[in-house]
Symmetry: C2
Subunit: 203 residues, 2 copies
């Protein structure tokens, strides 16, 4: 009997999955977006095109998986702790830390191109947009809302504020400015978003 | 001598331009985005592909022109008046009117698909993003800022507020919610954005 489905097979499959995701990230970082095709990813990863299509239905799906794997790896480095936001007891300090880090992250060219590629796909693909919401956006939003709830309990935020709205008012301007490249993402800008959001939802 | 460059020639050129832009809008409204190609636009408009490429360098450029023409036609219907925002003297009332209309416009399927197509292009094309800012976004932003300035003078808005930031805090959440289809764009949502923005930038 062959042990094709045994531990060696699983290891090979996992190695090929990692090679495909790494190739995707590299290509997105290096090439104009229209050149990132399933063929190019397969060639870079040293696998056949069918190996990719057996696992993912489309280029969108591979790009999404590449981004998801980045965020899973980051989690693993943190000893599988779920994402949490800093909590020094002062909401303004903590949010400024987070928003400055977010502005820096978006300004990193490798991350910029990967997120831009993902956005291109989800804008035109409602199913992928839903998967993005469920697997990436919502877990992060829940972590942020936990921090906002503790601020509500500490009397630093309106106890009746709609926390989804608070997050939108805080993050969406930065996202739009980045997406449309309408102005630079500076630390001062990150701070001003925190300040206007806290004024809008003051206790 | 032929009068190829005379008035008849100009009229023919303008008719072909209008046919191409109309074909672009129809295709974007009807077809999945990857099927909207320069070939398909040429076929629908009844012109050769080269007629399109003589005028526009890329599919992105044609889509942008189609959207720009829509907004120029709207201007012309208003007797070439520049865009202005309603000014009843009450900023909250006026902004709610505008934001509800914006939410409705984004919910219109034909407009939705055209703006989504344009966004797909400008996300990956910095030059087109700059053209979008200059020709479409900035003139609208200037009209909105004129209304905000009159509210500052009337003591309804913080006189030191950065008006670009005010516009971002007001519009970006709606834009992001629409782009990511993360939640519905209701009139109540439009109102809540106006209210949180006015709290953030109260005098």
């Amino acid at each position: 009997m062959s042990n094709e489905k045994g531990p060696d097979h699983s290891r090979r499959k996992e190695r090929s999955r990692q090679a495909i995701l790494a190739a995707t990230r590299e290509l997105v970082a290096e090439e104009p977006y229209e050149k990132v095709t399933v063929e190019a990813i397969a060639a870079r990863a040293g696998v056949g095109k069918q190996t990719i299509y057996r696992r993912w239905p489309s280029k969108s799906a591979v790009i999404f998986a590449a981004l998801l794997a980045l965020s899973e790896n980051a989690d693993r480095q943190n000893d599988e702790q779920p994402v949490t936001l800093p909590d020094t007891g002062d909401l303004e300090t903590d949010l400024k830390l987070v928003m400055r880090a977010t502005a820096e992250e978006f300004a990193d060219p490798a991350f910029d191109r990967l997120i831009r590629a993902l956005n291109t796909e989800i804008v035109n693909d409602a199913a992928l947009a839903a998967e993005y919401q469920e697997k990436l956006a919502r877990p992060l939003d829940e972590a942020k809302k936990a921090r906002l709830r503790s601020a509500q309990e500490a009397g630093q935020l309106n106890p009746d504020a709609d926390l989804d709205l608070v997050l939108e008012v805080l993050y969406a301007p930065l996202f739009q400015r980045w997406l449309h490249r309408s102005a630079p993402l500076t630390a001062a800008y990150a701070d001003s978003l925190v300040e206007s959001t806290l004024r809008a939802f003051a206790p």
